[in-house]
Amino acid sequence: MSDGEFRPRSQVIDTLIASILSDERTRHLGTTHLPERDAIIGLVEELKTIVFPGFFGQRELSRQTLAGHVESSIGGLAVELHNQVLTALHYARVLMEETSAASSASASARCTGWALTDRLMLRTAMSYAR
């Protein structure tokens, strides 16, 4: 391959990188807390084996093996669900901070952020009462 043939490809890559860097709406760089779509779909598939046991996932369940299946599924599910919820909360927090910093009315935005946090805490506490 000659230099002449390679250059257009390089231009495409340069243009693509410039495009990515210029539009923060369509990329995440250096973001540590971002929900994982595939992991969340995995949660749905795991939940299917719990709400409809025997239909999906492990076959040949019996009354004797059911408790082990549910315990094992819930255990794994709890860990992954916690991870994804935690990531989503961090993601929302970072997003809120970025929005807050960018806003001219940052003090007002921070108040909104704290109000959201309070609401989350209250909702969670109330869910125990249901």
Partner: protein, 218 residues
């Protein structure tokens, strides 16, 4: 919210969600029965769990709705859009759906965020339960958090391709909304709504020589 507060909150949400699974299973059991009762083509509840997109969609919805109620960001939408992608049924996780709900066939059904659906309702393919034009604030931004989608009472049936719009539209208990209806106002309980059909013209197909005798029984 600090990192440790996020961690504690995530643990509480996870615990609360898992605690709701028995209730979700109870509701799904009623949905599965509604699918069997609502479709004469179904021979067993097993068939509805294995095969019916409506059962799959309501399963994912009931799970996603629990996370939505716990104010978990993004996860419920990812779950509902996953269900949408595999069933063609788009139910926003915010929609409140009563027990014994059945979506038959399902493709093209849209149920918006602030929809409220009563018990024992049935919806067919292509139904939209949606919003009218979106209200905006003084700066022209969309106002979020207001009720934009209809309310369906108990025992409402909505047939194929009907469209029901608006947050103040209430379909009363026991109503039947016929196929293809476009509805933006409330209906009192116990009514049937149907659209006056278009005028149909039936004429002989000049390219179908010899078929007339087969069609004589129509």
């Amino acid at each position: 919210m600090t990192a440790s507060e996020c961690d504690r909150l995530a643990a509480e949400i996870t615990h609360a969600f898992l605690g709701r699974l028995p209730e979700v299973r109870r509701l799904l059991s009623l949905d599965v029965q509604a699918a069997l009762d609502g479709d004469p083509a179904a021979e067993h509840t097993d068939e509805t769990i294995f095969c019916y997109p409506g059962v799959m969609a309501i399963m994912v919805h009931r799970l996603a709705h629990e996370l939505y109620r716990l104010d978990v960001p993004l996860l419920p939408r990812i779950m509902s859009e996953y269900a949408h992608s595999i069933t063609g049924i788009d139910i926003h996780p915010g929609a409140e759906v009563g027990e014994s709900f059945f979506i038959d066939h399902g493709t093209g059904v849209v149920i918006g965020e602030t929809t409220v659906i009563g018990k024992h309702c049935k919806v067919y393919q292509g139904v939209t339960i949606g919003a009218k034009s979106f209200p905006k604030d003084a700066r022209g931004r969309l106002i979020r958090g207001v009720k934009r989608h209809p309310t369906l009472g108990d025992y409402v049936t909505v047939y194929a391709s009907a469209t029901i719009l608006g947050g103040d539209t209430v379909i009363g208990e026991g109503c039947v909304i016929s196929g293809g209806v476009f509805l933006t106002r409330s209906v009192p309980p116990g009514h049937i709504v149907r659209a006056i059909g278009p005028e149909l013209v039936v004429r002989t197909n000049p390219e179908a020589n010899g078929f007339e005798s087969h069609a004589s029984g129509i």
